[in-house]
Symmetry: C2
Subunit: 178 residues, 2 copies
DNA sequence: AATTACATGTAATCCGTTACATGATTGA
DNA sequence: TCAATCATGTAACGGATTACATGTAATT
């Protein structure tokens, strides 16, 4: 899914400005599986407007740039529906943390434990954020997705907490060199 | 973690060619949290060689391009250790599937169920692949990472199987318009 | 007969981030 | 007073993919 479809989808949840879209992607229910910067969102909105998929109304503000509120057009709704008919591409999960663990033999056990502890805390923060989102957005789809995210974060935290010892204990019990 | 560090890490697990590194990243224990193409791997190996972090010996083959086997140098080992001291950047998880679910109101219930069914099958394939990896690579770090991946895939599949009905049932029980 | 696996490498291209440009308001 | 929030937009830059280029051998 390219950034344009993402914008269409977000606008299907309600009218929004570029700034608000950025916020949703950076902090909201989207934050754990997508990302986008102003440098990609604003041009995308411009192009979508040119293509007639969204419309734009300006709201004048005192001492601020005009707020540009975008809405899906019927053409845009159709475009979104067509995009959602196509099979989603497989996930892209990039994790420096997991990569680092794989190279554990090049790291001291203390550093490994440190890495895992930081990671467990990171999951705790994510869980807190998702729980907050859950209480705010209690309707169907977003609730489902947030609960999905919660399960994932909890599963990761549980695994790391329960299994970290298998990595930090000296794994010299496999005398396999030749 | 940039691609160069990834190569250093992979070479810390044993000597390899560019072709083999690509295979590990595309099919092996790395496949569910990293990705890289020939177009990025080969230039990275060239640069790492120039920088003295890895060395290269050519193995002549009959009717094939010379196989270039790379090995970490002491300097490269140090470089890798330093890189692993730095905190890993937060994960990047991109999921078109989850994005599509969030826009569920623009999709028919049948299509949603179809999407979820395909996804559950996808997880089943991933689980099978990881289980195969588990039996092949029974040593410390990679075992840990593969088991981590298994837990994640299983948690996702379980959630989707158990909870899909909350998405596909008509969610008209929230009469919230205005 | 055709596709996949083996094996390396470069160039064009895409996509997106980061940094820049501008500037008021609010909270710490 | 300094940072963060609100608000939009462009240009430079970076990183990686895709396609191209080449060719054999094994498998289906």
């Amino acid at each position: 899914m390219d950034i344009k479809t993402l914008c269409l989808g977000i606008l299907s949840l309600g009218d929004a400005t570029g700034y608000e879209i950025k916020k949703m992607v950076a902090e909201g229910s989207f934050s754990f599986f997508s990302e986008a910067s102003f440098g990609s969102i604003y041009p995308a909105l411009t192009k979508l407007t040119e293509q007639g998929f969204i419309s734009c109304r300006s709201e004048t503000q005192n001492n601020r740039p005009d707020k540009k509120v975008y809405s899906l057009t019927p053409k845009g709704i159709k475009e979104l529906e067509e995009a959602l008919e196509r099979s989603p591409k497989p996930d892209k999960n990039r994790s420096e943390f997991l990569a680092a663990l794989l190279f554990a033999e090049a790291i001291s056990p203390a550093r490994i434990q440190n890495l895992i502890d930081e990671r467990v805390e990171y999951h705790a923060r994510q869980i807190k954020m998702l729980e907050d989102l859950l209480s705010e957005a209690p309707n169907g789809a977003s609730r489902f997705v947030v609960e999905y995210g919660l399960k994932m974060q909890q599963a990761a935290a549980t695994f790391l907490t329960e299994q970290s010892h298998t990595l930090t204990k000296k794994n010299n019990e496999s005398p396999k060199e030749k």
